[in-house]
């Protein structure tokens, strides 16, 4: 479907605040050294190519896609680790819910080990834990999944650098320019503040936006803790109408 702009309403997104995001080159995170573009980004302005984006139907999801405790179970056993629910709301900068958007997540197991052939950490593989899942936000922008708390792990950067427990998130929004990958951390973890990748985010308040809060009200008694992690995507300066309006 093609996007139709109202006269006087360009539907553009708010300019991205690059001082709030990590710069491309962050010497503390050494992998950026040869992978960070050095030329300034070219400011593009809004076109239909950036203001539209893919949407995904709930019918693509399997029943266990948002249950990492069970979606890779080989023998009916659930994954080992601290059981938890991670949930939250996807919003835009205007504080409007972003419904029907695909959210993907991946993580290490409870021991801090990824199921990946290039991963060499000695922590044990959990035979019943794959480490990935996905869901689509509901009409109010909410998502949730069940998993086990990932472990911290060491990584080759400095001589002795460790990643705090974290979950990787990929979110689409409704415009290709809203596409975002980020990481979620856990409230109260002292390791957050010594991590070179966390430290790429320039502002302490920005880092705090990446920390999920323990939510006692949404725990499942005798079963799982709950953590809430809200995600904010870029918002539109004004309304863009499409053939089918989907909470732009």
């Amino acid at each position: 479907m093609s996007a139709i702009m109202l006269p006087g309403a360009d539907g553009a997104l708010y300019q991205r605040d690059h001082s709030w995001h990590p710069p491309a080159n962050t010497p503390g995170y050494k992998s950026t050294t040869f992978r960070a573009p050095r030329q300034p980004l070219l400011a593009l302005g809004a076109t239909a190519s950036e203001l539209t984006g893919p949407t995904f139907g709930h019918s693509m999801l399997g029943p266990l896609d948002n249950d990492l405790m069970r979606n890779y179970s080989q023998d009916g056993t659930e994954a080992i680790g601290q059981r938890m629910i991670v949930y939250g709301q996807v919003l835009d900068e205007n504080a409007r819910a972003v419904p029907n958007t695909l959210v993907e997540f991946w993580q290490a197991n409870a021991g801090g080990r990824y199921r990946h052939k290039r991963e060499g950490y000695l922590a044990a593989i959990d035979p019943n834990f794959g480490g990935c899942g996905r869901t689509i936000t509901d009409e109010n922008g909410f998502y949730s999944f069940r998993t086990v708390k990932p472990g911290a792990y060491p990584w080759p950067n400095g001589a002795n650098d460790w990643r705090p427990a974290h979950i990787h998130f990929s979110v689409f929004g409704h415009a290709f320019a809203q596409r975002l990958i980020t990481q979620m951390y856990f409230e109260g973890d002292p390791m957050i503040w010594q991590c070179p990748i966390v430290g790429t985010v320039p502002d302490k308040a920005g880092i705090e936006q990446l920390i999920a809060r323990l939510d006692r009200h949404n725990t499942t008694p005798m079963d799982a803790l709950a953590y809430r992690f809200d995600i904010v995507l870029r918002g539109r300066r004004s309304t863009m109408f499409e053939n089918k309006l989907e909470g732009n």
Partner: protein, 206 residues
């Protein structure tokens, strides 16, 4: 016209990390059985209208080494220049052409998309932009996803009038977005993407 004032700040980006394939292309990462297929892998169906093409690119870092762990997504118009939504939230089937693709690179940093050549899309001035494909690149060492475009070398006339290409003042840098055409079973468009250095690709703030 007054615009609303943003009340929240965008969640800061973080690198996709070295294990991005676990989350985005798990079957490629040999985690099988969770998803039937990796999303975005196949863009074409027998009912897709348009000229079949292949888009091939190689991602190279500032030391000249291939970036062997990246994931690339593309978003493009269909043959008529319209953007389709792959699936409506309540639909049970995808349209014949979704416009969205996702591919992991191989160990040599090379990605391949089998798709169709997009039609021209109207630019903000109402004039058509040259046919193009939007790209988004994530990997370890990339703190925020890189946005760029691929244009087609055999659209020289349209490219010359394209408002995005013309924003790039240095004509040599303009060339970093234009894929060369190679003949084959289907036409193949080849574009190398340089993250850094003399040939650094133009990336966008969109």
């Amino acid at each position: 016209m007054l615009h609303p004032v943003p009340t929240l700040r965008e969640t800061p980006s973080q690198t996709a990390g070295p294990y991005v394939h676990i989350g985005m292309t798990p079957n490629f990462a040999e985690i099988r059985g969770i998803y039937d297929a990796d999303p975005g892998l196949a863009m074409l169906t027998p009912h897709t209208v348009g000229e079949r093409i292949e888009i091939v690119g190689r991602i190279v870092d500032g030391a000249g080494s291939p970036v062997g762990d990246a994931v690339v997504e593309i978003w493009q118009a269909d043959a008529s220049g319209a953007f389709a939504a792959p699936m409506g939230p309540n639909s049970n089937s995808a349209p014949p052409f979704t416009g969205w693709g996702r591919q992991p690179v191989n160990a040599e940093g090379v990605f391949t998309f089998e798709t169709i050549k997009p039609g021209p899309v109207a630019g903000p001035d109402g004039k058509p932009m040259a046919p193009h494909v939007s790209l988004w690149i994530v990997a370890r060492g990339i703190n925020i996803g890189l946005q760029t475009r691929l244009y087609f070398a055999d659209e020289a006339e349209a490219n010359a009038g394209d408002f995005v290409l013309n924003k790039i003042l240095d004509p040599r840098r303009r060339q970093t977005l234009i894929a060369r055409r190679e003949e084959g079973t289907v036409p193949r468009y080849v574009l190398d993407i340089y993250l850094q250095g003399d040939k650094e690709t133009v990336f966008f703030d969109i």
